[in-house]
Subunit: 249 residues, 2 copies
């Protein structure tokens, strides 16, 4: 049986989670609590030495990186509901969108999320407690991000990230104005991976994602939320962990 | 007939180029000169509106993004020489490596390359000439990178990028110490995409890539250079454009 280690239905964790629900593949749900730094605990680093969720264990072999896990599920379960276009050109377009999430869209949203949520979480720790948490983080860049969240991100960085978020919203809304889905005329991993970051932005970024400025993006967010697999996922997976999107990016 | 638009055998352009040579797929070679800013010219932006190489045209449909093009060539030409492992887990490992190049390794090497080569190139332009070149660049982030290259990158950014390059070299050398190839026990897109950035580092970054500090990485670089497809590529494709690696990243 597949085992998925995740923070629940938000941000990068949502990608393989929704993929599993859409494909109807049974799996064991292992939820980690980011507020307890469970992803940096020794038992989890034995599964993913980089201390990052999501991670998928399949017969003892572990696959990491959310987008890679989604492609893996397509490779390993090609006969269930298809989430990749068959046409090679359409499939390439799908990958341009999933790659764009990983290289651009997710980072700017993540920094703002860290600024708003992680900052307060780590500021409540004592210096000694904080240093102990940081010591457990295996990736130097992640250690730095925790330190920056505690010190407060510089305003010019936050401004730059907000600029990129506006660019991202524009790009998605423009494309969705004349496409039902992002790639290949079908609901695909391109939609799942972008939805993972965009869902909830109508609340957290309402000055950008709203009925008058980005109606097509809003339409698409609602349409995905109404899919049976998506409703089932949100109904079954604890909501306490949902804001992980804003916590871990 | 496939048409590949590239800067020649260096950096991101090398990825689809070597993939085509390895697979033995005939294609039309279209080389652009980065020093003449040909990738920002109107004729090329009609092919790729983002003004970036490489781009592959297949029967009038265009595929962009170097890693996506490589996967496309595997999807569209599965019976030629295989550059993706069949095993799903091995294929996922391959994608972890190609994703790492795109999100981490290529960026730090690229900034140093821009600092060393593009800086001098754009400093020789007048203000008016420079502004005209920048106006033709469709992506705001790329415009900013050109401006920074002209002004000079801040030293703390350059130091940080050098730190990341050292981390990258260590990661590759450690893995190659007990693996002939990066993923799945075979020469794959993981090797091609990392080689695209790593090849030549024994010259440009000899304090990191050398016989005593990273012998396994060096062994792997040489081994790829000796492959018939790689020799053929370097022999056939003009060398003037090879340093594009250092120019465009």
């Amino acid at each position: 049986m597949l085992k998925l280690y995740s923070f629940g239905p938000g941000a990068n964790s949502l990608k393989p989670l929704l993929t599993l629900y859409e494909k109807g593949i049974p799996f064991e749900q292992h939820l980690l609590n980011p507020a307890k730094f469970e992803h940096h605990s020794d038992w989890f680093k034995a599964i993913n030495p980089r201390g990052q969720v999501p991670a998928l264990a399949d017969n003892g072999r572990v696959v990491t990186e959310s987008t890679v896990i989604c492609e893996y599920l397509e490779d390993a379960h090609p006969t269930e509901v298809k989430l990749r276009p068959d046409d090679h050109h359409d499939r390439a377009q799908m990958r341009v969108w999933t790659k764009w999430v990983d290289e651009y869209f997710c980072w700017c949203v993540s920094t703002i999320g860290w600024h708003r949520y992680i900052g307060n979480m780590v500021k409540s720790l004592s210096d000694a407690e904080f240093e102990e948490k940081v010591k457990a983080i295996p990736i130097p860049e992640q250690q730095l991000k925790w330190r920056r969240a505690r010190e407060g991100f510089p305003q010019d960085l936050l401004d730059e990230e907000m600029r990129k978020i506006a660019v991202s919203v524009r790009r998605l809304d423009d494309h969705l104005a004349d496409h039902e889905w992002l790639a290949g005329g079908m609901f695909s991993l391109a939609d799942i991976c972008n939805f993972a970051i965009a869902n909830g932005m109508e609340n957290g970024f309402s000055d950008l994602v709203n009925e008058s400025d980005s109606p097509h993006l809003l339409r698409w967010i609602r349409q995905i939320n109404e899919r049976p697999a998506c409703r089932e996922m949100f109904a079954q997976v604890p909501h306490e962990l949902a804001p992980a999107k804003k916590k871990e990016g």
